[in-house]
Symmetry: none
Subunit: 226 residues, 2 copies
DNA sequence: GAGAGATGTAAAGATTTTATAAAGAATAGG
DNA sequence: CCTATTCTTTATAAAATCTTTACATCTCTC
């Protein structure tokens, strides 16, 4: 997982320091801003993964900052406030705040809420892409491309290729491949492997007679090469 | 905007009554459950748009209920608790709770948090107007247009199409689609999928025999393509 | 370089999965 | 309470995939 960037917008130096220390200890990049103006500029220049926004800024009301942000910024914004009155909370949430914390807060709770907010906003960003020269395997969308053209694989072909590719350059034995793809009762069905390896080569190799990606290790198994 | 359905899982009759009255006044459909078992059954049969879950249920710990739910249920779950200790809050949020409210709560604040949670879970539905060539899906009005003509979809058809479209180009497995659209008790009913996919194709594809939008991945699932 | 075992390939047959229509059951709305 | 709509189930046809067979080719050893 990559480090996430958090922007802290708060005018109290003490709070900023506390937050920065806590967040950096938890493997976040932290940027600081002390005024609304400075904060909005920072967001525009380097949109962070999450914003901690103090509602009581000196130059502009935090609610207005939030409204302004929400015109284009979609990542989580967590509001910090000394207020605990209901109206304020309602207003912030209705303006699109992801969460609302009343100062003084416990850092443990803050971290949990940050994690929760980030988890929600990055659900789909776990794209696993493997690139091998002319071949691209995208596990998130379950697609294979050769020279940028989509290739159609059956479920079994895909499973087999994915297994080989994930173990790039390692030899996988016949027994292992058969067990993983077809199940343990198929461990002696080596003809299956030959048939499916041939089909895969026909689909992904430039010249199926001289395969460069799926290599035969005679008497042992197969190996995937980039 | 359509009415949203809220499921209240709480063993205290008084709280249930209060919540039901408040929510129904705000144009929600409300279902009630008094135990964890009853609640889970209700969710499985009719997945609600949001769940209010009491952490102190008589038959099962609320944290476990939450974990169980999160294996497949992705809509907001707001935790209600008499506890306000940090550990409990952290645990609930890490388990995927959308929010945490300490009893007694003000109904105004509860409503704001419900609105906020629902807004988040339907972010794309408010903003996005997805366009795929001849097809336009408008999530805010729940309407579909093909070549600028409105197309009528049933609730189930719409849910299924929206799910596919939101995950454009990704393969969604049979189990996943069935679980999300019909609930976990339907995960083996793959004939449903075939019937509804056929209906959708008849409505949105230029030539239902040669679909270009809803693609079959034999043995795996379906994929939506622009 | 001959032979044996291992591997590759094509294609027919068997099986599984998918598509579609249509009838029966359930549900919502007037 | 009735009707129209939608959902569920059943039946069957079509398509895709998997499995098996038969034979060709390769590789390694002697």
């Amino acid at each position: 997982m990559n480090k996430s960037t958090v922007l802290v917008i708060d005018d109290e130096a003490q709070i900023r320091k506390l937050l920065t220390i806590t967040l950096e200890a938890q493997e976040f990049y932290v940027h600081e801003a002390t005024t609304a103006k400075e904060g909005l500029a920072a967001v525009a220049n380097h949109p962070p993964d999450l914003i901690l926004l103090d509602i009581g800024l000196p130059d502009q009301n935090g609610h207005d900052v939030l409204k302004h942000l929400r015109e284009w910024y979609t990542n989580p914004v967590i509001i910090l406030s000394v207020q605990s009155n209901e109206e304020d909370i309602v207003r912030a949430l209705d303006n699109g705040a992801s969460d609302y914390l009343v100062k003084p807060f416990r850092t443990g709770e803050l971290m949990a809420r940050i994690r929760s907010a980030l988890r929600k906003s990055t659900v789909d960003e776990n794209h696993a892409l493997l690139t091998f020269g002319d071949l691209v395997l995208d596990f998130s969308s379950r697609t294979i491309k050769k020279n940028n053209e989509k290739i159609k694989l059956t479920a079994t072909e895909y499973t087999l290729l994915a297994l080989l590719a994930k173990n790039e350059s390692k030899v996988l034995t016949h027994h292992y491949l058969l067990t993983q793809v077809w199940g343990p009762t198929y461990r002696e069905e080596s003809q299956y492997l030959r048939v499916f390896i041939a089909q895969l080569r026909k689909k992904i190799e430039a010249d199926p007679n001289r395969p460069v990606h799926i290599i035969t290790e005679s008497g042992v198994g197969y190996r995937f090469i980039a």
